[in-house]
């Protein structure tokens, strides 16, 4: 076999933070360049489009608020997912946990609407977190008991949860006053989250939870145990950690946070329950949590950026009259590049000349 020159990838001993950041930003720039080709195919000026996207996300106070409203569910769901992922429990059931949380909150909102606002909202929050948590607890129980693959079970349970909401929406909960339109009655005023600075107070929850999850994961015994289990189940066993219990607690929390998102969306954004309550956040949050390396503060930043991408994307639809799907494609391209760039953070390349074995570092 004769190969005059080969490029080999070698794992870096310890990636430096600055280099990692440079590579990630480089990936986004490359993604934007690639997307430009796509935009050019639409007969538009890429620079113009990107500028409008930024404007669309942060251009006015109203749009900035819209971006934040989009970021809130992403932040909280990503935090929930990060807790599970730290334990190497691949919870991709955020979607279903959000839906079931929204269901529980709506049940309270629709049936106890005569209670005073603070109590009603508190009950809705507790119900949503409890039901979201329990929904996640089912796959966690199978995992703890028999080691059942949680990736697929959580995924399957998304569909069961969403079908359940559909059943309610088209069946027993359908509002008779909606003129045959399949929708559930709107919440009464006292079941709707109040606003602060123009945005429903979910943003305060999000900020508090970022801090709380950060402290939980890094400075509590449970957080430490979760990390140990994630790294090595055997070591956890050996150290006397109660593995089953810790899995159940962590996943209860993970699902509980997703359930809370269901309540926030139903109450603060939609004022009712519908199948659209999840809006794909359960999946998007997996991506944001992963890109943020499961770190709570970074999740905050990544989620806002991602929300800006969504909001900017929908703005350019109206400005340039391009279909919604174009924004999805852009999203996909950017994510592909960012995902691919991790490789260049982890590995460096060595160019090997086989003749005289000269080594040359490329990256």
């Amino acid at each position: 076999m004769i190969m005059p020159m080969t490029i080999r990838a070698i794992k870096k001993s310890e990636p430096s933070r600055l280099k990692a950041a440079t590579i990630r930003i480089g990936a986004i720039i490359l993604a934007l360049i690639t997307s430009s080709i796509f935009i050019l195919l639409l007969d538009l000026n890429p620079a113009n489009v990107y500028m409008k996207m930024v404007q669309g996300a942060f251009g006015t106070a109203y749009r900035a608020r819209e971006t934040i409203i989009k970021a809130i569910p992403l932040v909280i769901t990503s935090l929930g997912i990060a807790i599970a992922f730290r334990m190497q429990f691949w919870n991709i059931g955020g979607e279903g946990q959000i839906a079931m949380g929204a269901f529980a909150a709506s049940f309270v909102a629709l049936n106890m609407s005569d209670m005073s606002k603070p109590i009603l909202l508190l009950l809705m929050i507790l119900a949503a977190m409890l039901v979201g948590g329990l929904w996640a607890l089912i796959p966690a129980f199978f995992k703890a008991q028999w080691g059942t693959n949680e990736t697929i079970v959580t995924l399957m349970m998304n569909y069961i949860g969403l079908k359940w909401i559909m059943y309610l929406q088209y069946g027993p909960w359908r509002d008779p006053n909606s003129l045959g339109f399949p929708k559930i009655a709107n919440f009464t005023e006292n079941a709707i989250l109040p606003k602060l600075m123009g945005v429903h107070i979910g943003w305060i929850f999000a900020l508090l939870l970022v801090a709380a999850v950060y402290i939980f994961l890094n400075h509590t015994k449970k957080g430490y145990e979760i990390a140990v289990i994630g790294e090595s189940i055997n070591t956890a066993r050996y150290a006397g950690i109660n593995i089953k219990r810790t899995i159940l607690i962590a996943i209860l929390l993970s699902g509980g946070l997703c359930g809370l998102v269901g309540m926030i969306q139903a109450s603060g954004v939609n004022s009712t329950l519908s199948v659209e309550v999840t809006g794909g956040v359960g999946y998007t949050a997996i991506i944001t949590a992963w890109l943020a390396s499961l770190s709570a503060p970074v999740i905050l930043v990544v989620s806002i950026l991602f929300a800006a991408l969504l909001e900017g994307g929908s703005y350019i639809q109206t400005v340039f009259g391009i279909p919604e799907s174009a924004a999805l494609i852009l999203q996909g391209i950017i994510l592909f590049f960012v995902l691919g760039s991790e490789f260049f953070v982890q590995y460096k390349f060595i160019l090997v000349k086989n003749q005289n074995s000269v080594k040359k570092e490329v990256v």
Partner: protein, 311 residues
């Protein structure tokens, strides 16, 4: 009896898109790649198959386009996860986002259009001589369209490939233990690429069946979550193409049973019936894990990137 036969025949039709996507994902997962972008690849195949079908009126070209589109989606996934060793779950989910956008974008001008007559005629039911005249079995299995027969053939061929050929044996080894496969001289990355792409092409065909034969017209999100059912079916079939044949038709039956039951005056919400495939999958998964069977377990290397010089 008549009603039952017609129901079962319809279940096969409903199960065919699931079958293609399932065997596509089986072959992908057998190489150790968990590609959750099935829904995205199906949509890409559905729209490209439909578009080329509209342009040429040629069924073969339409199917070819669907396969290429599905394989293209799989190529993105393969490059990210095999060459760049990105996380498979996240890459697959992103592929679904991308595929959804791609199909909606390409398909926008096609919305509401009906598949050309030439193609619809090409895929009209065709009774296979002799076999089609067997009582009960004939009308159920052998009075279908050519695409359904292609599904039978693809599953059986894939089964033979996996269990009877040396390449198939190598593939199973790659999925089980890439390090060992590498040590005996199997080109692990090549196997992963080829089978992930082939899997994507089959998913593309599954999508094309929906847009060209099942509906047959273009509508946004034509797959309606069938890609995820296929992911479930892979487990239900325990990574075995023959069992996939049975499972796909069972799940196909579940897909249409609600309407049939309403026709018979039994009122069960379609939404509960829609939950069944997912519930059944969970039950299968839990039972398999309770038994700790070594034979029906997922490929051991599933979900992990492989890099020879890792230390």
């Amino acid at each position: 009896m008549e009603a039952l036969i017609s129901f079962l025949a319809a279940a096969i039709v409903a199960g065919t898109p699931l079958l293609f996507a399932t065997i596509g994902e089986i072959i992908t997962e057998r190489s150790g790649n968990l590609n959750l972008g099935v829904e995205g690849m199906m949509l890409m195949g559905a729209v490209m198959g439909f578009m080329v079908g509209m342009m040429t009126g040629n069924a073969a070209l339409a199917l070819l386009a669907a396969m290429i589109a599905g394989a293209f989606g799989a190529l993105i996934f393969a490059f990210l996860t095999i060459t760049l060793r990105a996380n498979q779950v996240v890459s697959g989910l992103t592929l679904t986002i991308f595929g959804t956008g791609f199909s909606n974008f390409i398909g926008q001008p096609l919305v509401g259009q009906i598949a050309p007559e030439g193609i619809r005629l090409f895929f009209r039911p065709y009774t296979i001589p002799v076999l089609g005249n067997i009582p009960v079995i004939g009308p159920i299995l052998f009075r279908q369209d050519a695409f359904v027969y292609l599904g039978y053939a693809a599953s059986i061929l894939l089964g033979i490939y996996l269990y009877k050929t040396s390449k198939g044996l190598n593939l199973r080894a790659v999925g089980e233990n890439p390090g060992s496969a590498d040590a005996v001289g199997i080109n692990v990355n090549l196997y992963k690429y080829v089978h992930t792409l082939l899997g994507g092409a089959l998913c593309g065909l599954g999508g094309a069946y929906l847009s060209l034969v099942y509906v047959p017209a273009w509508q946004e999100g034509v797959t309606a979550g069938r890609g995820w059912i296929a992911v479930a079916l892979v487990i239900f079939a325990t990574w075995n193409p023959y069992k996939a044949l049975f499972g796909a038709f069972l799940f196909g039956g579940l897909d249409i049973i609600g309407f049939r039951m309403q026709g018979l005056g039994i009122n069960v919400s379609q939404y509960f019936i829609d939950m069944l495939p997912y519930l059944v999958t969970i039950v299968v998964l839990v039972v398999v894990s309770m038994k700790k069977s070594k034979e029906n377990a997922p490929p051991k290397g599933l979900g992990n990137a492989y890099f020879r010089e890792e230390r």
